[in-house]
Structure formats: structure tokens, C-alpha cells
């Protein structure tokens, strides 16, 4: 893989990120709603207050002027401030990022820990009982939306059994082991819901990838050389089969930063996803803009990383 290729991809990424920002900004500007509608609905607050705020925050300017201001500020590292809380957007995002990384990261980890062994086992023994059970569960897993499984878990484990808390708190007051225990207890439900949902998709993917590789001639050769089944699978099948899976995981990385919109809302996890939802509800354009823009950048970057990884892992693929 040539260095030229990487440079070219990076150069292509710049206009696409720029284009994304234009589209996002236009869509947000065209969307109905107004950040100060709560003020407008309150008769105790004169309309001049909302009008003064609109003027102060530059909301009365034409869309292109606003976009230009935003872009110039963004290039200088100024992300603007939230209309709702009047705090700098980067501070807001940094407050939410650790929670999202912990919860969604743990969920991704759980997904991989479950999906890899199950997928490989199912793929090497296609149509066995185990494979059929795994398949059934995978189908159920990705057919059930997270808002359903989330509420189900809350009903069973919080309401009926009273084992786990239904509200996730980022600032636990406990310390030491107590903290670890409480953190574990409150993480179980959101991580399980998200992790198993991801795992269900990943299992299908790993399985089909393993299935493709197992049939190849070089595996038959390896077996006929007398290498043990275990070694054949671990050293020959899995290594090759996981190449597409690695890229898939890389492509999913932006989600780890972006949070899970629905699950975060159900469990009140104060992550990026819930920040985005509340910002959208209150038409807090700078926050929505920043979060979606950062996410699109991450998608572009991880696409690039996935491509490069792919070429590096699989020498059969060459980029020019």
C-alpha cells in the first residue's frame, strides 16, 4: 500500500467533511422549531426578551451568514455555545463523552466476547444443533428493538425483582469497592441490552465469514497434513475469516463515540446520545451541529482506517 494512496484518501475526505457540514447546517436551518419557543409560550416573559436573544445569538441572520460564522469559528477550534445552557459546546461534549465511552465501549466489548466464539463455533459446525440455536437467538436478538428489551429488563430486574437500579448515574457518591459494585450494578442492564443487540448482528457476520473460509482448499490441505482441528481453526480459519470482521468493527467505532440514542434515553445514561436528543428537542443548533459533525468526521476517519487496516491485514488486496 502506498503512502500516496493514504494521502489521496485524506485529501478526498476533506471536501466530503465540508460537504457534510453544509448539508447538516442547511437541514438544521430548515427544520421547524425555535430554541426560544419555551420563552414565547410564557406570558410572563415579554416577546422582546426572545427577540433580543435571537439577535444576540445571531439567529436572525441569513443561513449562509450563520454557516460562514460557524465554519470560521470551527476552523479556529471554537465550537460555539449551547443556546439552552449557554455553556461552550466542547465542555458539554467532554462532560458526556466518558460515560458514553464506558457504557458503549463495554457493550461493544461484550458483543465481541459473545459473538466471536459463538460465530466461529457455529461456522465450523454448520447446521448442527448449536448452530441452529445460535442462529435462532441471533435472529431474535436483532429483531427485537433495544427500547423493547430495555423496558423488559427494567420491568423484570428493577420493578419486579428490585435487584438493579433503573436510573444510571454518572456521579455515584460512593467510593472504592462500593463505587465499583454500584457502577457494575447500574451498568448491567444498558450494557447487556446494547451488547447483545450488537452481538446478534456480529454472530451472523462471523459465522458466514468462517463458513466461507472453512470450505477453501488450503484448509483441507491443512487438515490433510494432520494438523489438529483446534489448530486448524484457530491458526488458519479464524485468522483469515476475521479480516472482514475487523473492518466491520472498525466501521462501528464511531457508534462508541456517538452513543446510543434510544438506550441512553431509557436508562437515563447521560451520554452523547441523550445530549443529542435533548439538544434536538430544544432546537439547540450549536450542540446538534457539533455532535453530528464530529460523528460524521469519525465515520469518515474510521472508514479510512478500515480500508487501510484491510489492506494491511490482507496482502491479497492492494491499493493503487
Amino acid at each position: 500500500m502506498s503512502r500516496q494512496y493514504v494521502i489521496r484518501r485524506i485529501l478526498i475526505a476533506i471536501p466530503s467533511i465540508f460537504g457534510i457540514s453544509v448539508i447538516l447546517f442547511t437541514v438544521l436551518a430548515l427544520a421547524p422549531g425555535d430554541p426560544f419557543s419555551e420563552l414565547a409560550a410564557n406570558p410572563a416573559i415579554p416577546p422582546e426578551v426572545a427577540a433580543a436573544l435571537r439577535a444576540k445569538f445571531g439567529l436572525d441572520d441569513p443561513v449562509w451568514t450563520r454557516y460562514w460564522h460557524w465554519l470560521l469559528a470551527m476552523l479556529q477550534g471554537d465550537w460555539g455555545f449551547s443556546f439552552a445552557s449557554r455553556i461552550n459546546v466542547d465542555t458539554l461534549i467532554m462532560q458526556r463523552l466518558p460515560t458514553t465511552l464506558i457504557v458503549i465501549g463495554a457493550a461493544q466489548l461484550l458483543a465481541m466476547l459473545v459473538a466471536l466464539p459463538v460465530g466461529v463455533l457455529a461456522g465450523t459446525r454448520p447446521y448442527s444443533i448449536f448452530d441452529q440455536i445460535a442462529n435462532t437467538f441471533a435472529f431474535i436478538g436483532f429483531s427485537l428493538p433495544t427500547f423493547f428489551t430495555g423496558l423488559l429488563l427494567i420491568l423484570v430486574f428493577s420493578v419486579q425483582l428490585d435487584w438493579l437500579p433503573m436510573v444510571y448515574r454518572a456521579d455515584l457518591s460512593a467510593t472504592g469497592w462500593q463505587w465499583c459494585w454500584e457502577q457494575l450494578k447500574q451498568s448491567i442492564m444498558p450494557v447487556t441490552v446494547l451488547g447483545l443487540f450488537q452481538a446478534a448482528q456480529l454472530v451472523r457476520y462471523v459465522r458466514s465469514s468462517v463458513l466461507d473460509v472453512v470450505r477453501l482448499d488450503y484448509i483441507t490441505t491443512a487438515r490433510s497434513k494432520g494438523i489438529g482441528e483446534r489448530a486448524v481453526i484457530v491458526r488458519h480459519v479464524v485468522r483469515t475469516a476475521l479480516i472482514p470482521v475487523v473492518t466491520l468493527v472498525a466501521l462501528q467505532m464511531p457508534i462508541v463515540f456517538g452513543g446510543a440514542l434510544v438506550t441512553e434515553q431509557i436508562f437515563r445514561v447521560p451520554g452523547i446520545g441523550s445530549l443529542l436528543i435533548s439538544a434536538m428537542q430544544s432546537n439547540d443548533t450549536p450542540v446538534v451541529m457539533a455532535v453530528t459533525f464530529v460523528l460524521s468526521c469519525l465515520v469518515v476517519i474510521f472508514n479510512l482506517i478500515a480500508d487501510i487496516l484491510y489492506g494491511w491485514l490482507d496482502p491479497r488486496i492492494s491499493y493503487r
Binding site: D34, E38, L39, N42, P43, A44, I45, R169, S173, Q281
Partner: protein, 596 residues
């Protein structure tokens, strides 16, 4: 009720023949808020009832953590920029006003030493000034003393137009003078019968001068204390994550003895109302959840688990149906529902009368809102037990049929009534919200029985309530025949509230639909009556004029009140907290405690 009767009642209270409470309840039935009723008594020389908390703990702290759940999360902690109740509830944990309103509409001092009154001369006889004596020895969380300078500063801060404070309406028309270190005088341009607005209740929280003085006006966003409040309240700031949570701990030098009971508090935001109700009533994970916009049926089921209770306090919110007076279906100069046009069918009083008896309020209360909405005939609040006998409402399909028949609206081949080729077909819009869609269905069904066709329309709340000039579906544009929503009475004085029927307040394209009169109803009689009320120096005469204004709105069928919506909160059984429909839920947070 006219002025003479009102005076008679006040006389009875003075003579001790009528209890203060009974008087307030009578006034509420007339559509006056409880705080206004108590102020009438104060003017007449009847001292306001001593508002006392029932607080049992005998020492500060020791109550463990207090956990509150707000399903809309607070986003900022400066009371002068609070955009909604979510912010005010949170700021009240740290900041205090001079006085707050209790559930009966009496003032209870917080930072004031006493409530101003006529007998000690702190309340001027001409209604043009009021003197507040401040509590001595109050110390801000950072150790600086609280003085009259702080109070005067808050007036300057909030009335500065460059700051665009949401409290500006309260402060821009008054003047505040420092008399001495612990006395301030609030001066009004005109005699003001309702004097307890500045520095009182939801709009009255006081921020420290020494931390905000450098951040007046346009620089207001930069103040570090916006995010780390330093107040006089029972809890001291610990942590704040906008949109997620607010935390505080006991302030050891709080100015009221033995308070607060809890060692710390945590206010968590986010999620939805139903699961918040669950977390308090069913699992007991939280002690308090506010604004339970949940169907009563669900609340009752949750209460049965025996862990929590629902507290209901009457306030000034009314779910009502507005009847368009203008023509919403003809566009002139890029504007529908334009002034000067006439609604083709709703302009007939008979049609309006028929519609009024077709709204089955009892069913709406019984099957939809339960305890969280009381059927009402008055536009200004009217709790069920004090329902006035003269403003009776009824649900009567036969009567509606009769009215329409007599007015010449005959059923056509399709079963829909018509007259002069105009059919009784209405579009009825509201925001997307389950109880509202159910109410729409009840009204639609009743109308069908008499041959009125209703097309229901539901608009996403964020669009319906926005002030977006480009969107045709906002409630202020009112581009349909009927619409329904809850109007909120944010101040105890009805003057501002009753403005929404003034001719000069009509919402039009010219004022970007910012006028408060959305039905576009216009009546010279009402306008004159309102102006008279505004200028009236005598508080009793003034109250009588506002009661009349309320009656006119109902008698002219401008709106159909459906249910009064009290404030509904959920709390665990052990938590003792007095709620007030006239102030924030956290208005007496220092007096909250848990039974051992």
C-alpha cells in the same frame, strides 16, 4: 360578583364572620388566584395569615441524601436566565427570594425579616411603594454577608435590556432603592395593587452582587458563577452537568435553624414522565419526581404498590378549546385567520353555544385526566369543590341539536348540518399528546351525533408551540377552526393572563404572530373593562373588574374551558414536603424532611 359584594365579603373576614381560607376559596371560584385574594385582604388591613411550615427535625443534617428526578433536565443555574420551570426548580435549591407563596396563596418570608403590611407602614397607602426589611446575619455560601446592595443589584442586573433576562418583565418597570444595609424600597410608577412580584417567588431569586457585578448585560454569559451558583439557600453547590444532574450538600451556616434535614441532594434529569413516576412510586429509587404528565390510571396503579404517593396542588393552568373568530381558510396577503375576516360558520353564536354543550367535560375528567384534570366552566382556575353555581357547564346533545335546529342549520343528505350552502365541518387541532388525542375523540364523537363533522389534526409539540414564522401549524397562527392546549398562568395576578383577549394583542402577520390574543376575539367592552382594571387603584374594585372580564370571555363563547390542570408530583411516603401551585415545587426546600 360585583364590587359591593366583594367588599361585603372582605368586611366579613375583617369581622371574623368568614374565615380567611373560605374567602380565598370563594375568590378562586370567581377565577382569581389565591395570592391575589390574600393581597386583597392585606389591603383591607387584614394581616396575611402567618404561613408556617410544619417542620419536625430538631437538628441540621442527618437525613441522608435527597434524590429528586426531573424528567426534563435543568440546563442552566442562573435564575435570571431560567427558560423553564426545570431551571427554576434547580436554581431554587441554591438561591432564595425575599419571600415565597405557600399553597394557600400566603407569603412566607425567606430572606425577608417579615412580610410587608399596612399596619407597620411598610406598605404605602397609595400603593406606590413597598418596603422590605431584610433578614440580618444571612451569609452567602462563600462567607460574604447578604445585604440590601445585593437586592438592589438584582434589580439592575435583570432590568438591563442587554442582558435579555427572562425575569426582565418583573423588574423593568420598578425602581429599587437601598434605605439602609438591611432595608430596600421598591417603587412603582403607578399605584400597584399587586406589589409582591419583584423579589418574590419564581421570579424573585436573588444572586450575589460580588460575583455577578462584573458580568452585567452583554457579558452575562461569561460569569463563572452561572455554572457554580453561590446562594443563600440551604444547599451549597457541589456539581452540575447541564442536561443531566445537579448536586449539592448541606450549607452549615444556613440562616434558618435546624435546616436542612438532608445531608446532600441530587437532582437527576432526563428520560420520560412515566418511568420517572415508576422510579418514585414503584421502586422507590428516587424520593421526588415533578410534573407527572401521566394518565391518572397509571399513577393510581403505581401508587397501589404502597411506596409513594401523588401530590396534587391547584394552580392556574387551563386546558381549553379556542374557537376561531376569523376565517382560517382564505388567504389574504400571505396570511390566513386574518383580522377583518369572519369565520363562515363559527361566527354564528348558535354554533358556538352548541359546541360548548358538546364538550363532555365530565367524561374527559373521568376517563382521561382523573385527578390530574378537573372539569371547569371558568377560564381562570376553578377547583372542583368550589365550583360556582352560576357558571355551570353541561353536556347535552339534545340541547345542541335543538339550538342548531332553531338557528336554521339543517341536516343535509350526508347527515351534516348546513345553512346557505355552508356545512358545519371543522378542523380541530392540538399537539401530539395522548390525553389530547383522546379528548379530541370524545368531542368528535359528540359532534357527530348532532351532525357536525370534525376533522382532528395533531401537530408535534415542538412545532405547534414554536414561534416559527414560516410554519403554518403553530398555535399562534391558528390556521384552523378549533384548537386546544393548556394555557399557563405564570403569575398570581390576572392582569397579564387576561391580556390574551385584548384587541391590541391580536396575533397577526404584522406582529409576527407574537400577539397573545390568538382567537383574535375583539370586544370594546372587554378592552374598556380591562383598561379600567389596569388603572384601578382600589384593589377591590380591580378584582371585581377582573372577575367581570373572566365572565365576559365565557359568556361570549370565546373559548371553551375543558379541565383545570393542577400541578401533579410524585413522592415517597416518608418524604414530607409542602407543594404550592403558586410557586416552584422547591419553594420551601429547606423544610423538606423524611419521617424516620
Amino acid at each position: 360578583m360585583n364590587e359591593r359584594e366583594l367588599r361585603g365579603l372582605i368586611g366579613q373576614v375583617k369581622a371574623g364572620a368568614l374565615s380567611r381560607r373560605a374567602f380565598v376559596q370563594r375568590m378562586m371560584a370567581m377565577g382569581l388566584a389565591a395570592p391575589l385574594a390574600t393581597q386583597l385582604l392585606v389591603h383591607a388591613g387584614v394581616a396575611m395569615a402567618q404561613s408556617r411550615p410544619s417542620y419536625k427535625p430538631t437538628k441540621r443534617g442527618g437525613g441522608g441524601p435527597l434524590k429528586l428526578l426531573l424528567w426534563q433536565a435543568p440546563t442552566l443555574l442562573n435564575p435570571h436566565f431560567a427558560t423553564g420551570n426545570k431551571d427554576r426548580e434547580a436554581t431554587r435549591m441554591f438561591y432564595e427570594p425575599l419571600a415565597g407563596w405557600d399553597g394557600d396563596g400566603n407569603l412566607r418570608p425567606a430572606l425577608a425579616a417579615a412580610i410587608p403590611g399596612r399596619e407597620d407602614g411598610t406598605l404605602a397607602a397609595d400603593g406606590k411603594s413597598v418596603i422590605w426589611r431584610l433578614k440580618q446575619g444571612v451569609v452567602w455560601h462563600d462567607g460574604k454577608p447578604f445585604t440590601a446592595d445585593d437586592v438592589v443589584f438584582n434589580w439592575q442586573y435583570a432590568s438591563d435590556p442587554a442582558a435579555a433576562a427572562t425575569t426582565s418583565a418583573t423588574y423593568k418597570d420598578v425602581k429599587v432603592e437601598k434605605v439602609d444595609d438591611h432595608t430596600v424600597k421598591v417603587l412603582f410608577d403607578a399605584p400597584t395593587p399587586f406589589w409582591a412580584l419583584a423579589f418574590v417567588g419564581t421570579q424573585g431569586m436573588i444572586i450575589p452582587k460580588h460575583l455577578f457585578a462584573d458580568y452585567m448585560g452583554a457579558k452575562s454569559r461569561e460569569a463563572p458563577a452561572n455554572l457554580k451558583p453561590v446562594g443563600t439557600g440551604p444547599y451549597k453547590f457541589k456539581d452540575f452537568k447541564p442536561g443531566d444532574m445537579v448536586m449539592g450538600e448541606t450549607y452549615p451556616n444556613y440562616h434558618m435553624p435546624n435546616r436542612p434535614h438532608f445531608d446532600s441532594f441530587e437532582m437527576k434529569g432526563g428520560g420520560d414522565a412515566v418511568s420517572a413516576a415508576r422510579a418514585v412510586l414503584q421502586t422507590g429509587e428516587y424520593d421526588f419526581a415533578w410534573n407527572m404528565q401521566v394518565e391518572d390510571e397509571i399513577l393510581q396503579r403505581l401508587e397501589k404498590t404502597g411506596k409513594g404517593r401523588v401530590e396534587i396542588s391547584p394552580g392556574g393552568n387551563i386546558e381549553h378549546i379556542q374557537l376561531n373568530t376569523t376565517d382560517p381558510w382564505t388567504e389574504i396577503d400571505g396570511e390566513r385567520s386574518r383580522l377583518g375576516t369572519k369565520h363562515p360558520t363559527l361566527s354564528d353564536p348558535a354554533v358556538r353555544q352548541a359546541l360548548i354543550v358538546l364538550v363532555d367535560k365530565d367524561s374527559v375528567e373521568k376517563f382521561i385526566y382523573g385527578r390530574t384534570g378537573n372539569a371547569t366552566a371558568n377560564f381562570v382556575n376553578n377547583p372542583e369543590k368550589f365550583r360556582s353555581k352560576n357558571t355551570k357547564f353541561e353536556f347535552n346533545v339534545d340541547k345542541a341539536n335543538d339550538i342548531l335546529e332553531k338557528a336554521g342549520w339543517k341536516k343535509g343528505a350526508d347527515g351534516i348540518r348546513e345553512k346557505d350552502g355552508k356545512k358545519l365541518k371543522f378542523v380541530y387541532q392540538t399537539s401530539i399528546n395522548q390525553p389530547r388525542q383522546k379528548t379530541q375523540a370524545i368531542v368528535k364523537q359528540a359532534c357527530q351525533k348532532v351532525g357536525i363533522e370534525i376533522e382532528v389534526k395533531a401537530v408535534t409539540a415542538s412545532v405547534f408551540f414554536s414561534s416559527d414564522v414560516a410554519n403554518p401549524d403553530t398555535y399562534t397562527k391558528f390556521y384552523c377552526d378549533l384548537q386546544m392546549y393548556t394555557t399557563t398562568m405564570t403569575q398570581p395576578d390576572p392582569e397579564l393572563f387576561m391580556k390574551q383577549f385584548l384587541t391590541e394583542e391580536q396575533a397577526t402577520k404584522a406582529n409576527k404572530w407574537q400577539g397573545r390574543n390568538i382567537t383574535r376575539w375583539s370586544s370594546k367592552e372587554y378592552d374598556d373593562n380591562f383598561k379600567a382594571g389596569q388603572a384601578e387603584l382600589d384593589p377591590v374594585k380591580r378584582a371585581a373588574l377582573f372577575i367581570k372580564a373572566n365572565d365576559m370571555v365565557i359568556a361570549n363563547q370565546v373559548v371553551i374551558p375543558v379541565v383545570a390542570r393542577p400541578a401533579v408530583q410524585a413522592m415517597t411516603l416518608k418524604l414530607k414536603a409542602a407543594m404550592s401551585g403558586w410557586d416552584n415545587n422547591t419553594w420551601d426546600i429547606q423544610d423538606w424532611y423524611k419521617d424516620a
